[in-house]
Symmetry: C2
Subunit: 264 residues, 2 copies
């Protein structure tokens, strides 16, 4: 299930441009601490105590659940509920109290605006809800989010094929080279010829959600076993001097701007 394939995108490598590394320590500079407001405190005191209890899950079963759930709550909430519905049964709280269905809005790169693919946002949410935020001292939630975004960008999607697909024709696979819904769906639509409202496009996105759910559970299981190692190599602020994807030239062409840099 892990994608090892090289990204081939019109001969443009994934890391299309790099600017001076080490000029910025913005990552470090962003690490602030100190509580200002009283945050969540559940009756059992558990929702902002990390990690949340986790039991290893079956990736294939989780993927099947995500696939089915896509047709009810769409990509983001499908990924979340594929994991949380199982942990609700196995563990109970705090999973029972988490309002998964509110995250339908992640669909279509957030209410159809084509930004971050909901399957990525959903996966990052699950990792950060279970493991906790970096400001609480654990970094694996942040790292698993980055791994998911990079894995998604490099994978030939959809990776996962459900046991009983709702669309039985074979679906074209494409590499998005981006975590964005617009880019991922657009490249697939171009390669497949299917419009956004087609059953094929919908089933493709349901399978993308399933693919993400599968890989997310692989990473969470590794984390539970104490053998998780971050895989993402994309460090935009450090490398590019700005928050960014890795595909600079895909939007900027050959005219990639140089951001203002910190004095050394």
């Amino acid at each position: 299930m892990k994608s090892n394939e090289k990204v081939e995108n019109n001969g443009v490598s994934r890391r299309q441009m790099m600017i001076g590394t080490g000029a910025l320590a913005a990552g470090a500079a962003m690490a602030h601490f100190g509580g200002l407001l009283k945050s969540a405190e559940a009756k059992d005191g558990s929702t902002e105590k990390w990690p949340w209890p986790y039991e290893k899950l079956d990736p294939a079963k989780t993927a099947e659940l995500a696939y089915e759930e896509w047709y009810r709550v769409f990509c983001g909430a499908a990924v979340i509920n594929s994991v949380f519905s199982q942990l609700r049964e196995k563990i109970g709280e705090p999973y029972k109290s988490f309002p998964v269905d509110s995250f339908v809005f992640l669909e279509g790169g957030m209410v159809g605006w084509g930004t971050m693919c909901g399957s990525n946002t959903g996966a990052a949410m699950v990792a950060n809800l279970i493991i906790g935020p970096r400001i609480a001292g654990a970094h694996e939630g942040h790292q698993i989010s980055e791994d998911m975004f990079q894995w998604y960008s490099e994978a030939s999607m959809p990776v996962f094929v459900p046991k009983t697909p709702k669309v039985t024709t074979e679906l074209v696979k494409t590499v998005s080279d981006s975590p964005l819904c617009h880019v991922s769906v657009g490249k697939w639509m171009k390669a497949s010829g299917f419009p956004i409202g087609s059953p094929e496009r919908k089933d493709r996105c349901a399978r993308v959600a399933a693919s993400n759910a599968y890989h997310l559970v692989e990473l969470l299981n590794d984390w539970k076993d104490g053998k998780y190692k971050p895989a993402s190599t994309h460090a935009p602020v450090k490398e590019f001097g700005i928050t960014a994807q890795m595909n600079c030239m895909e939007c900027h062409g050959n005219n990639v701007p140089t951001p203002p840099m910190a004095k050394k």
Copy 2:
């Protein structure tokens, strides 16, 4: 506080391209119903019963809270907690049990990848948690999300100036014409000359979070009073045949692809 200004972005209008409208009814086609998995059920049964109880808040006070919280939890969680910290005091559950700090990962357009600005994701989360998802029958959460994204894209940011700014020099304002972190921050960095790790850039983003919190509360207060009216005019799937922002030419130049369309 509402931004009425025209977007001027090198003479390119916000709605740079339109393709045949009405060819797709994908929005409608996406409306599936029917529960497959048991979803959240809090002990008091409240987290997936919408709307959550809401009391009108003071926009300026909320913005000040978001500004301060940015320096602890960054953009996304700052917007969420600026609203939820007050509702925790005024109302209690389900706000007390919601794990706001897990959403630190929304920073930098999600773990620094420059996609959706966390201040937008945070605002959409608050609207959809309180009002509920469109599949539960209420559409205002979805609509307020769209309004926030469009307002953010068109506003001269940062709009809000805190009472006691941490950076006292006047900050340049820029129009992003996009809800993305990379585009919004990049345009501001270009206009201001300040690098990503500078105190000025950080304070700019803290003020953007505050601006979003202010406008979000304006919309939520209107909704509470029964006088909310959707303002967003961007309907990408219907207009463009694909999930998208409104600034097609900013990435595609004059070579905007035509997506495959549904047969009429």
